[in-house]
């Protein structure tokens, strides 16, 4: 029985039993032959056993071959079984009818064995090819669906990472827009403050699409943010980001990047361009400038590259417009590009609009140009404007980074003393400051740092408006030196304990103190009013 199951199954249909025997005789050695004496039986067997091929006699009483064929083709279960009509010579005129009903071929009676075998073999082979093709198509469609899914996931990752809340402040405004293309992904933008005055703006374009591009973008974005937090130079940030992204880059993804650090108080913007299309500045008077300086190649290609930076000043009413090539390379139906020229014309003509309008109007302009052509690449724009007159006054300030060693306190206090002398601060103020710093930093090193952990402590000092303000920032564990402050200040010499006195001195000697835990850092502020 097993033997016959691996052989292809042929169903022979004929109302004359002798003809069935003849066919069986010819085919039985290679195939498993089933026989049906009339149409209805044939249909039953066909549906039940799904033969690989049907040899169908045309002239049968009751249901003839054509009707059987028609019914076979109507039933989805038997539709794909190849049907070969077997007919007597003098009925050739009905060939066309047979083919139009879906028959695969005709054989004439009397059946010549080699011809029958050849036809059967041919049509079985044909059927097999069809089956294989069908299967292959199914797999391809499945993979295509999976790819679409991946693209969608990539899209979701990309869009979920974009800051969508635009700060409303008096001194400046920021707005951004990212319109993703259907297939291609990879654009991103970011903006965040690294301190009170400095705003970081980032726009990038990752090569590639789908989930790998989205992940590469996520990593790039977070590396940039991490580096920017303790590195005030765009050149240095980009250099370090490039090193990191170039190191483990097996799929050779790249990203073009434009980073600007804008001081919204002074209006000074330092920027680094790594292979990105140059942004524009639209001055208050409408003049358009292009920031054409390039400071290095795209990110991710090669390690150990030192990027440079340039600087530009923004005045009140000036707008910085950063974008990706999805804007300038948008195409119309004839594949003509929107181009830099059109963008420049558009920017120049939109006088006095807010950054939000600037960005959305530019998108409208691009869409109008494309006029229905499919968007080929992500369109990204980030615009920033200074709304107040820049304050370029130089007030005395000082920054210092020390490591968490007690000896460093001496170095720090020396620098602070030098700063105080240089700015004619009263001696008492300097003394109190030194004491507070000695005790504060001592506490940070003693209690805020993990046992074998070493960390850097940053001190920023500014003197303006008769106030001396110090900021002490460390990245140790959360430690509020002004919390649970109840040291012993009243018991006798014998019973007196010294714990907490240092922190008390810091609090009491300064005119004002503040503690804040910002993400992963402790920020202590010390304020002294200068008479």
């Amino acid at each position: 029985m097993n033997e016959s199951q691996s052989k292809p199954v042929i169903l022979a249909v004929d109302d004359t039993p002798e003809n069935l025997d003849v066919v069986k005789g010819i085919l039985a050695s290679e195939y498993s032959v089933k026989a049906a004496i009339n149409g209805p039986i044939a249909l039953k067997i066909a549906e039940k056993h799904r033969p690989d091929l049907i040899l169908l006699d045309v002239m049968m009483p009751g249901m003839d071959g054509y009707e059987v064929c028609q019914k076979l083709k109507e039933n989805p279960k038997t539709r794909d079984i190849p049907v070969i009509f077997v007919t007597a010579m003098d009925q050739t005129s009905d060939e066309t009818r047979g083919f139009s009903l879906g028959a695969a071929d005709y054989i004439f009676k009397p059946v010549i064995p080699p011809i029958l075998q050849a036809r059967v073999k041919t049509h079985l082979a044909l059927k097999q090819s069809m089956d294989e093709l069908s299967e292959a198509y199914g797999i391809i469609k499945q993979q295509k669906d999976r790819m679409e899914e991946e693209l969608n996931i990539g899209r979701d990752i990309q869009m979920s990472m974009l800051p969508l809340e635009f700060p409303q402040r008096d001194e400046f405004s920021v707005h951004a827009l990212l319109q993703p293309a259907r297939e291609v992904g990879g654009d991103f933008y970011d903006f965040f403050f690294i301190n009170e005055d400095e705003l970081v703006l980032v726009v990038g374009d990752v090569s590639g699409k789908g989930v790998p591009a989205a992940l590469f973008m996520a990593v790039t974005k977070s590396v940039i943010k991490t580096r920017a937090m303790d590195d005030p130079s765009p050149a240095s940030i980009v250099t370090r980001v490039n090193d990191e992204m170039s190191q483990d880059n097996p799929s050779s993804m790249f990203v073009t990047l434009f980073i600007a650090i804008c001081n919204i108080r002074t209006g000074e913007c330092r920027f680094t361009n790594a292979g990105h299309n140059p942004p524009y500045i639209r001055r208050r008077d409408g003049k358009l400038e292009i920031l054409s300086q390039r400071h290095g190649p795209i990110i991710g290609a090669m390690e150990d590259l030192a990027y440079k930076e340039s600087s530009v000043d923004l005045g009140m009413g000036d707008q910085l417009f950063i974008f990706t090539d999805g804007v300038t390379e948008a195409m119309d139906k004839e594949d003509n590009l929107f181009s830099e020229k059109r963008l420049e014309d558009h920017l120049e003509s939109s006088m006095g609009s807010s950054v939000e309008d600037l960005v959305s109007d530019t998108l409208l302009s691009v869409e109008k140009y494309a006029d229905g052509a499919e968007q080929a690449d992500d369109i990204t724009m980030l615009a920033c404007s200074l709304l107040k007159e820049p304050d370029k006054s130089e007030y005395p300030r000082m920054s210092l980074v020390i490591s968490s060693d007690f000896q460093e306190i001496g170095r720090l206090n020396k620098e602070l003393a030098r700063f105080a002398r240089k700015n004619d601060l009263p001696e008492d103020v300097m003394r109190k400051l030194n004491i507070a710093i000695d005790d504060l930093v001592n506490n940070i090193i003693s209690y805020g740092t993990d046992e074998d952990g070493k960390q850097f402590i940053e001190i920023n000092c500014a003197y303006l408006d008769n106030r001396l303000m110090l900021e002490v920032v460390d990245t140790g564990k959360p430690f509020n030196p002004f919390e649970q402050l109840n040291p012993d200040t009243t018991s006798s010499i014998e019973d007196r304990k010294i714990g907490g006195l240092g922190r008390l001195l810091v609090k009491e000697l300064m005119d004002d103190v503040d503690y804040e835990r910002q993400k992963d850092r402790n920020v202590v502020k010390l304020i002294m009013d200068i008479p």
Partner: protein, 110 residues
């Protein structure tokens, strides 16, 4: 920081120049230990040239005061500048240590 030692009528006078803080307190501690080991029971901390003191310095003073109290000795601190005085006030040390405005007064109190 510099510490000079003079003996005035049986009182060990320590003249401090500089700051008594995290990094310099160990030196002060060593010097005072030495004096106590040598048998001093009367110690005068002369702060006329002391710029400032932080809690690390206060710790040394307290330790010295405790030891002297146990051995029936005496410790006085004199010539505090305004800021050092304020530190003593905030920390409550002004109430538990013997303070004097100048050296004569201080020596007279031993």
């Amino acid at each position: 920081m510099d510490i000079k030692h003079r003996d005035v009528g049986g009182v060990s006078v320590l003249d401090f120049t500089g700051n008594l803080d995290t990094n310099t307190s160990p030196t002060a501690e060593a010097e005072v230990s030495r004096l106590l080991d040598e048998g001093s029971t009367k110690i005068l901390f002369n702060f006329s040239e002391l710029n400032f003191i932080s809690s690390s310095g206060l710790r040394i003073l307290l330790a010295t005061a405790k030891k002297l109290k146990m051995s029936d000795g005496k410790m006085v601190v004199c010539n505090l500048n305004d800021v050092v005085q304020e530190v003593f006030d905030i920390s409550g040390f002004a109430s538990i240590l013997n303070l004097a405005a100048n050296e004569e007064e201080a020596l007279a109190s031993f």
